[in-house]
């Protein structure tokens, strides 16, 4: 890779809040880094931890999970299920040697375009400082 390292971040965004918030950031023409590739999901509660691990294993430098604020979930408590999985997943990723800045859970409502833009901005900067993850290559190199 030539030049500056550009983090690749996979964003799993719930369609009712974070994805709509991201949409608002776009339609309001806010500027923020293009590093997050959003994947729209119906609810963060359906994000199997497998998806996060697979993204990291397949070359993502970070994963952003965006859902509704507690109490706002379209399906009552999907976001709380995510929070429970997320805390346990963070503990495990820490044991794998994956920095906690690389996998983030953020609550972004449909009206918080600004919050989404700033989240992407700060996450991109944090991961830029950490450098590439390159998981597959790391596993092969130290095999």
């Amino acid at each position: 890779m030539q030049g500056k390292f550009e983090p690749k971040i996979v964003g799993f965004l719930c369609r009712w809040c974070a994805y709509t918030g991201a949409d608002l950031a776009g339609t309001s023409r806010m500027k923020y880094p293009p590093n997050v590739n959003p994947v729209r999901v119906n609810c963060t509660g359906r994000i199997d931890p497998t998806l996060v691990l697979k993204a990291l294993q397949n070359g993502a430098d970070g994963v952003l999970i965006g859902g509704c604020h507690p109490g706002d979930c379209h399906y009552t408590n999907g976001n709380m299920k995510t929070l429970r999985r997320f805390k346990l997943l963070q503990n495990m990723l820490n044991q794998f040697g994956i920095e906690k800045e690389r996998v983030r859970l953020e609550w972004v409502s449909a009206s918080e375009g600004e919050r989404y833009a700033r989240t992407v901005e700060s996450m991109t900067e944090e991961i830029r400082k950490l450098g590439p993850l390159n998981w597959k290559r790391m596993v092969e190199v130290i095999a």
């Binding site: 199997d48 497998t50 294993q57 299920k81 503990n91 044991q95």
Partner: protein, 318 residues
């Protein structure tokens, strides 16, 4: 017609799979007349040179147990693949890395230091360490190279069938051997000797859909022998593990540790268990959730006790 030629081999394993074959009991005696065993290091005196001298595809079925942790394991994996018509990954280590794959949480150097320097029981004042090569008057002696990362058998060579379990239970081994000898072969890549449903389906403990407000480790409690262990706060891998073993650990009120591996179409057993366990957490505040999550003291060792080598991440970062 000549009898089918069968081989057993061990790689990075404890030998339990070999003992499990003996669980066949009298069936083994009946089998004796129907098969020819051409290689079985634990029981019969064959040399690697006998194996190398065989023509290709000479062995009908090889049951290969153990993970691939050093150059000898890898060499034998290739050799058995060449010499066998069917190669069966036998047991948790060959199918998913097993206990040896927990070495993937450490580097080769860390393991070496722990084994030869740091363990309190190590008594080595002269600092004598194994060397990859050593010159003696008779010539050069070598030992196999130890690898940094443990691999499953199918990460090294092509595998025809998988028989999970640490070790596979006796009755299932009998069925597997019968299936293969019958000639009526399942599709390549099939998992034999296990169920397609989760262990919870065959577990007899009473399940009531209760949530967990505190996690306990097995040594901290005496569980109620009638109730689901997960509901009592003990991490049991049942929901994310294939059945087929007959839930024998649960019969002894000991939680499932996941040796039968992931269910069909599951990519990562640990991720599934993590997901299942977290959904049982009875907590809504961030602090309570964190406290429950911290109750899993060793997440990798809990969720990937037998499956780290075939998990998505496969090892820890150094």
């Amino acid at each position: 017609m000549t009898n089918p030629k069968i081989a057993f081999n061990w790689a990075a394993s404890c030998g339990g799979c070999e003992i499990a074959v003996l669980e066949l009991g009298t069936k083994l005696v009946e089998l004796k007349d129907k098969i020819d065993i051409v290689f079985w290091p634990v029981a019969l005196d064959f040399k690697y040179s006998d194996l190398e001298a065989m023509p290709d595809k000479n062995i009908d079925v090889t049951f290969f147990n153990g993970a691939i942790q050093n150059s000898e394991n890898e060499h034998l994996a290739h050799l058995f693949r060449e010499k066998s018509k069917l190669l069966v990954a036998f047991g948790a280590c060959a199918t998913m890395g097993g206990i040896p794959a927990l070495a993937n949480t450490k580097s080769k150097q860390q393991i070496f230091n722990s084994s030869y320097k740091e363990t309190p029981s190590t008594d080595n004042p002269q600092g004598i360490f194994p060397q990859p090569k050593f010159i003696v008057p008779e010539g050069e002696l070598t030992i196999p190279e130890f690898y940094n990362t443990v691999r499953t058998l199918d990460q090294v060579v092509d595998v025809d069938y998988y028989v999970p379990g640490c070790p596979p239970v006796g009755p299932q081994i009998g069925k597997v051997v019968e299936t293969i000898l019958s000639g009526n072969l399942p599709p390549k890549g099939a998992v034999l000797g296990a169920s397609d449903k989760s262990l919870c389906h065959e577990c007899k403990l009473e399940k009531t859909d209760r949530k967990i407000s505190k996690l306990v480790r097995t040594y901290e409690t005496i569980p109620d022998p009638k109730r689901c262990l997960l509901e009592q706060g003990i991490v049991c891998m049942g929901p994310a593990t294939r059945g087929g073993c007959g839930a024998i650990c649960l019969d002894a009120v000991s939680p499932c540790r996941g040796c039968y591996g992931p269910l069909p179409n599951v990519i990562d057993q640990g991720a599934k268990m993590l997901s299942a366990l977290a959904s049982l957490f009875d907590a809504d505040s961030e602090e309570d959730i964190q406290r429950l999550a911290d109750g899993v003291v060793d997440p990798i060792g809990t969720f990937y006790r037998f499956g780290l080598a075939r998990s998505l991440l496969r090892r820890t970062k150094e």
